[in-house]
């Protein structure tokens, strides 16, 4: 069964519009007819589908549209054209601890972040001990997050985000900040989720990691699907291409 279906999805950004932040500029551009100018397609008619239970790696250089694709799938961006169908719950690990408030303590942030992720209060309460144990931050739960290192808040964020067994796990290079022991723990957790049937979309610049984790891969280049298929084939082709090309040529 296809759990994610992406059909002809395009995501258009208006680079000129991005910079209009003042009224004066807007009026000037309106008068000179410069309002819709410098369009940029981060995704251009991307189509693919993901089968339930598989792990798909997404490859591509910086600025090739990987993160945009993940954001469109998790519903943060609404695509400018095309259609996306997702059958199931998504746990987006696009940035760990999104919505943490620096002034609140770790304990308060667990509940705030839990609410942001759409969990129920009782659920988070019952899992609180598990979160503390997994993140190994037991001594620091009453410290404001602003005093945490990035690795510490990543630990907390990962522990909260993987509380549920989601149907789809979206991982965007979030594990870089943790120490190696914690990275190992996270990989173990992801392995555990996968063996429970969770589908995974995985973005990483480490091709070794993609080969190890995924069975399929998609290679994005300038917002288009360059190649799609078995992980080894795509990785080989991508690696070969990388030897002779650079990102923004």
């Amino acid at each position: 069964m296809d759990i994610i279906e992406v059909k002809d999805v395009s995501m258009r950004f208006n680079l000129a519009n991005e910079r209009i932040e003042s009224l004066k500029e807007y009026v000037v551009r309106l008068l000179t007819g410069n309002l819709m100018f410098q369009e940029f397609y981060a995704l251009n008619q991307v189509s693919f589908s993901v089968q339930s239970g598989t792990s798909v790696g997404i490859l591509g250089t910086n600025g090739s549209g990987k993160s945009t694709l993940l954001k469109v799938i998790s519903g943060i961006y609404e695509p400018s054209a095309g259609e996306i169908q997702v059958h199931g719950t998504i746990a987006p690990l696009i940035e760990l601890g999104a919505g943490f408030d620096p002034d609140l303590t770790a304990r308060e942030n667990v509940f705030l972040n839990g609410a942001v992720m759409g969990f129920e209060r009782e659920f988070v309460r019952s899992k609180y001990a598990e979160i503390v144990a997994f993140s190994e931050l037991g001594n620091f739960m009453d410290v404001p997050i602003k005093n945490f290192s990035s690795g510490m808040s990543a630990r907390l964020g990962f522990a909260i985000a993987t509380l549920v067994h989601p149907d789809i796990l979206i991982v965007d290079e979030v594990l870089g900040v943790g120490d190696s022991a914690f990275q190992q723990k996270c990989e173990q957790k992801m392995q555990e989720l996968r063996s429970c049937g969770t589908t995974m979309l995985f973005v990483s610049h480490s091709i070794e990691q993609v080969r190890a984790v995924c069975s399929h891969a998609i290679w994005l280049r300038r917002g288009r699907v360059e190649m799609e298929g078995d992980v080894d084939d795509v990785c080989d082709a991508y690696q070969k291409w990388c030897e002779t090309h650079s990102a923004f040529e």
């Binding site: 950004f13 009224l23 004066k24 998790s74 943060i76 609140l104 705030l112 609410a115």
Partner: protein, 259 residues
Amino acid sequence: MLKKIFADGYRYRWLLEQLVGRDLKVKYKRSYLGYLWSLLNPLMMMAIVSIVFSEVFRYDIQYFPVYLLCGQIIFSFFSEATTMAMNSILQNAGLLKKVAVPKYILPLSKLCSSGVNLLWSLAAIAIMFCIQHVPWHATMLLFPIPLLLLFLLSYGVGLMMAVLATQFRDMAYLYGVLMQALMYMTPIFYPVEALPPEALAIIRFNPLFHLVTYFRKVVLYGRIPDVREHIVCIAFAVGFYVMGRTIFQAHQKNFVLYI
């Protein structure tokens, strides 16, 4: 319509509660008196303004401090809630770019945190009633009506301003000036009777003027506003709410592109 708000609020009630809780916790973190400031602030402001206006300008209004406080808490709520709602989308850019949450929840949470402040201010009014020996009227029990309408009005304006401020950062500065103008257009510290008819003609378009008058009538004067006053207040509140909601819904998908 109210049902729709409550349905939205109910669905994400825990998120809403957490966001409001965060605002309140962060607001008074590291202050000794904490929440007590929500009570002390309106009282201290009132003390200063009533000294200035009853001693220096000598308006002859009975129970002037309470008269003042009634206008002041309504205006403060409107000004605080709409300003915070206006900035709520920009402030939470990080969140909106990383997680798919319903966007209206951010302005709504700001409205609710200001609402908590408003409740504290009501306690301040009650204290002043006792100190000034103001007679208590049965019509006082109607006070939630103007406050609910005020909430609806402020929510609508807040939603509209959030859309504008997200597209044009100038709004944040402009709005401060607008609020100043609106403050003078609202009979907070002067009696309505003191106005020349030309000024009154303009002020009638200020929804806060009608809400403040309504609130004072039921709380301070023990009178029930007539049908016309009811219609005007409801029309303003519902009108702004519908307008704000429509504009917000039409523009919310573009927010992530601007923040």
